[in-house]
């Protein structure tokens, strides 16, 4: 059945970017306040799901040609590599390091290896959620 979903499609084109930006914001907010990779990942995934609802699977895969299994694997590797970095310094696994840096534009900021771990979590969450949704949504 062909439905006329012009309103949904037009708003989605706009809203998707807002959701995506908000998810990035939440992701970085996790540094000191509630938020982080898991919530950010879920938000991004929900944005992509909105795209899937408004358009069909084929259009979205052409627009975002991402293999979500690979994304999951990369996320897992990033997370484990960050945590395993401590092995090379012979300190207990998962020990993180941080320091303060002067960054251009942003001024003095602390950079923390937990951020890398969280990026891994983010990728895993988006990857797993999208794999699940695609595997249900792939056939009608």
């Amino acid at each position: 059945m062909k439905t006329n979903d012009v309103i949904l499609q037009t708003t989605t084109k706009l809203i998707f970017f807002i959701i995506f930006l908000f998810s990035i914001h939440i992701f970085f907010a996790g540094h000191y306040t509630p938020g982080g990779g898991f919530v950010g990942g879920l938000l991004t995934a929900s944005g992509i799901v909105l795209l899937l609802l408004a358009f069909d699977l084929k259009t979205v895969t052409t627009a975002l040609p991402i293999n979500y299994t690979v994304m999951t694997a990369v996320g897992l590797l990033l997370a484990i590599a960050t945590a395993a970095g401590s092995i090379f310094f012979n300190v207990p696994f998962f020990t993180h390091a941080f320091d303060y840096f002067e960054l251009p534009l942003l001024g003095k900021q602390s950079l923390h290896t937990a951020m890398l771990f969280d990026t891994g979590v983010y990728l895993v969450v988006v990857g797993v959620t999208m794999t699940i949704i695609q595997s249900i949504g792939a056939d009608d």
């Binding site: 299994t69 690979v70 999951t72 694997a73 990369v74 897992l76 590797l77 484990i80 395993a84 401590s86 092995i87 012979n90 300190v91 207990p92 696994f93 998962f94 020990t95 993180h96």
Partner: protein, 494 residues
């Protein structure tokens, strides 16, 4: 290398993540998995000798001080179990090369196995009760993948029940951890062991102990919580069944042994008595099942349940011979169940059925298979000098020392039932009128038979060399008898 004890968890995890990147390259999947497991096995051997030489290895993640961070603890019991799990996984993967079809291989079969090993090794190594829940979930999630992989009708149907049971037991696990946390105020197992005596609330602690018994009993298949196991385990292909049968129930059994020796030791007259009664009922229920079926898979599956009962009976006695016997028997059972499943897998592949009544006369066409099976069967029943003997002897001795005559007699009687049930397979499948079989091509047959023979050989060595293994086993049982060793290793000097 203070992180050494984490390597048996990290190596499979790392390589499983790498394998996710190229699922379609079957050759690479196979050999990377095999190499990973060899590496893990090597590291575990190094760890074994380090634990033997230097005592318990403990580390608290993230450099937190001990009771606050997540502790990982590798004592002799856990390192022995990690070693045997890795070994059995290695051999099952070798067997899978010739058994598992292309579709499964290119649909994350090997990463699934490696993730499951990560969970199993983690559950054996962790020293934190909530972290144990997490590792349980890791191994369960991978087992969900493995049980449903292939998508046959029976697999889909049975995996729904398997997942449902495990979801409920996971929820119960969270509830139980919540109770424990509200009473004790800590989740570090060594710290719980210290504080549980201080809070002095025996009634609530006993309730929590029984709840834990239910949680782990669902995973470990004790009476009456084993109901889901036989039909679920019969659904997936043989290598997966071998892994599940050898490892997953043992994780539950290990968790019961750990919690019941480390912290629920205050009201032994109730908790350990209950454990003993349930263990004996488990043996009885398993024995009935093992004799009732004509399906080879079901017969061996019910033998898992009998073994769980025997091990837990030993654990409930709380004296040195019985605990040492439990450790002996636990590892024996991992090896021999794996071997038996691999062997009946070959029988099923040859005859094309798992119904005993449709088999016969295989000894004429496959004599070596028959004799190997007979050795494994005798090993399972515990005929000296094979591997089951020492463990059972020590458990029975411990039972007599603790004045539990009837329990010990049940154990001895169960050996006869076990022997009868596995010999029935031998008689039906190998003797009698030969039925028409499809000959396996010799390369496939060798690919299946050699791993099985290697595993049977290892189990025979385990039985014959048990004298040499005694120092390791007594190290393992000493920690269970005297929790202060464990506490000291985790929390430091106190």
């Amino acid at each position: 290398m203070i992180n050494l004890l984490l390597f048996p968890i990290l190596i499979p995890f790392l390589f499983a993540s790498i394998l996710l990147l190229f699922p379609k390259n079957r050759l690479a999947q196979r050999w990377i998995t095999f190499g990973t497991l060899l590496l893990t096995l090597f590291v575990t051997f190094v760890l074994l000798f380090k634990v033997k030489a230097d005592g318990i290895q403990a580390i608290t993640l993230g450099s937190w001080p001990a009771p606050f961070g997540i502790s990982m603890v590798s004592d002799m019991l856990s390192v022995l179990l990690v070693l045997s799990s890795t070994l059995i996984t290695l051999i099952v993967v070798w067997y899978s090369f010739s058994f598992i079809d292309r579709d499964r291989e290119s649909y994350f079969y090997y990463p699934g196995i490696l993730f499951m090993l990560t969970g199993v090794n983690g559950a054996f190594t962790t020293g934190d009760i909530f972290n144990m829940f997490v590792f349980f979930e890791v191994l369960l999630m991978s087992s969900y993948l493995l049980i449903v992989l292939g998508g046959e009708k029976i697999q889909l149907r049975e995996s729904i029940k398997y997942i449902l049971v495990n979801v409920i037991s996971s929820a119960l696990f969270v509830v139980t951890v919540a109770y424990l946390y509200s009473v004790i105020g800590t989740l570090n197992m060594a710290d719980i062991s210290v504080k549980i005596a201080e809070v002095n609330q025996p009634g609530i602690i006993t309730v929590i102990a029984v709840l834990f018994l239910m949680v782990f009993g669902l995973k470990g298949a004790i009476f009456p919580l084993y109901f889901w196991l036989p039909s679920s385990y019969a659904a997936p292909p043989i290598p997966v069944l071998a892994l599940f049968g050898a490892l997953l129930t043992k994780v539950g059994v290990y968790a019961i042994m750990r919690t019941y020796t480390l912290f629920f030791t205050l009201d032994q007259a109730f908790t350990h008595e209950l454990l003993m009664i349930l263990a004996i009922l488990t043996i009885v229920a398993g024995s009935i099942g093992a004799l009732a079926y004509f399906d080879v898979k079901k017969i061996i599956i019910y033998n898992i349940i009998i073994a769980v009962g025997v091990i837990l009976f030993g654990a409930s006695q709380m004296n040195e011979p019985a605990l040492m016997g439990s450790v002996f028997y636990l590892i024996h059972d991992i090896l021999i169940k794996g071997a038996l499943f691999l062997l009946i897998g070959i029988i099923i592949a040859i005859t094309g059925t798992s119904d005993l009544r449709k088999m016969g006369g295989l000894i004429k066409t496959y004599p070596t298979l028959g004799w190997t099976y007979l050795i494994a069967a005798f090993g399972l029943a515990g005929i000296p000098p094979l591997s089951g003997f020492v463990g059972k002897l020590l458990i029975v001795q411990g039972g007599f020392e603790a004045d539990n005559l009837w329990g010990s007699i049940f154990i001895l009687a169960s050996s006869l039932v076990v022997l009868l049930s596995v010999i029935r397979i031998f008689i039906y499948a190998f003797w009698g009128e030969p039925v028409k079989v499809q000959m396996l091509s010799s390369s496939v047959y060798r690919g299946l038979f050699i791993p099985a023979v290697v595993l049977v050989g290892i189990s025979v060595l385990y039985g014959v060399g048990s004298e040499w293994l005694v120092p390791f086993m007594s190290d393992a049982s000493n920690v269970m008898l005297d929790p202060t060793i464990y506490i000291k290793a985790v929390l430091g000097g106190a």
